[in-house]
Subunit: 152 residues, 2 copies
DNA sequence: GTGATTTAATTCACATGTTAAGTAAATGAT
DNA sequence: ATCATTTACTTAACATGTGAATTAAATCAC
């Protein structure tokens, strides 16, 4: 190990690679059920009868609004989600259909096993620490918004 | 809330959010230079006169081959990269043009400052530990070891 | 109540992610 | 040399990422 390629971008790349490695553990069996990973995140967020408006759903799934619009159209066409009436007629509240709940349970079984396998491979305590660290990183960056540039 | 949303997916989500938070630090000034973050990763990998074939470039930038094809077309149209002849006429070897090198330097200045700001906010040692941990996670999940390292 | 403003989603346009299929050149076996 | 195989990329098709503009409905100011 000489002086590494001084890839100061290492944080970004490390996050990217780590995420690739983790999602790879789930992509096959989620895909076999006919869902993308993003669609699966939406299904998960709605599991158990939870009804959420688009904005909340987007935040929880870390999906931008335009993407969520398309995802919900796909899931709706597949009969997995439906819209429930809302007092505020601007917002769209979504919930799983019975078919959606059933599909969730099927995928969820396997997902839990895959997650347990990651805990085994990496260490359960280390994994918990890592998540804490990742969340602290995010918190330390999001606290100081107010860009600080661009005064007219 | 012990039994709130029991989001066991926390690892995936934590990685996603952390990455969002980090990339947000760079997106504006890279975008102001007319580049996407992916295009910037490619420029970075080629900085300093480095010439790389598509496969190596894709691995280093963590970009899939089809995406890289399009990105290289965009960068080529913008006059930032060019193809150099290769003995093996299957592969396409890429390098920066002078304009590409110049643009790299401009963006690089600011990027380093942004990265230093992250180190300040999160802690330099903690950041190093986090990257190590992320790389260990990836290593523990990847069954077939692709080096990802570089020949000279 | 009328009009300006804000909020919630969607639509648009373009770039990338992802898988599968296709093309061309190098390699290997005979 | 000839042909099947492998390698390096590209293309195709569809899904999502991303920022800007748009539409509809609620809220605020008067």
């Amino acid at each position: 190990m000489a002086d590494a390629p001084r890839y100061d971008d290492s944080l970004t790349i490390a996050l990217l690679r780590a995420r690739d490695a983790v999602t790879a553990q789930f992509r096959d069996h989620v895909g076999a059920a006919g869902l993308t990973l993003q669609q699966w995140r939406v299904i998960r967020a709605l599991a158990g009868g939870t009804a959420l408006d688009t904005t909340t759903l987007a935040k929880r799934c870390v999906i931008l609004a335009p993407s969520l619009t398309r995802i919900l159209r796909h899931l709706g066409d597949a009969g997995l989600v439906e819209t429930v009436p809302s007092r505020d007629r601007r917002q769209r509240v979504i919930r799983l259909t019975p078919a959606g709940e059933t599909l969730f349970i099927d995928i969820w079984q396997v997902s839990q096993q895959k997650y347990a396998a990651i805990e085994d491979a990496f260490g359960k305590d280390e994994l918990r620490d890592l998540v804490v660290s990742l969340n602290r990183l995010r918190a330390s960056l999001e606290t100081d918004q107010e860009t600080g540039d661009v005064p007219a």
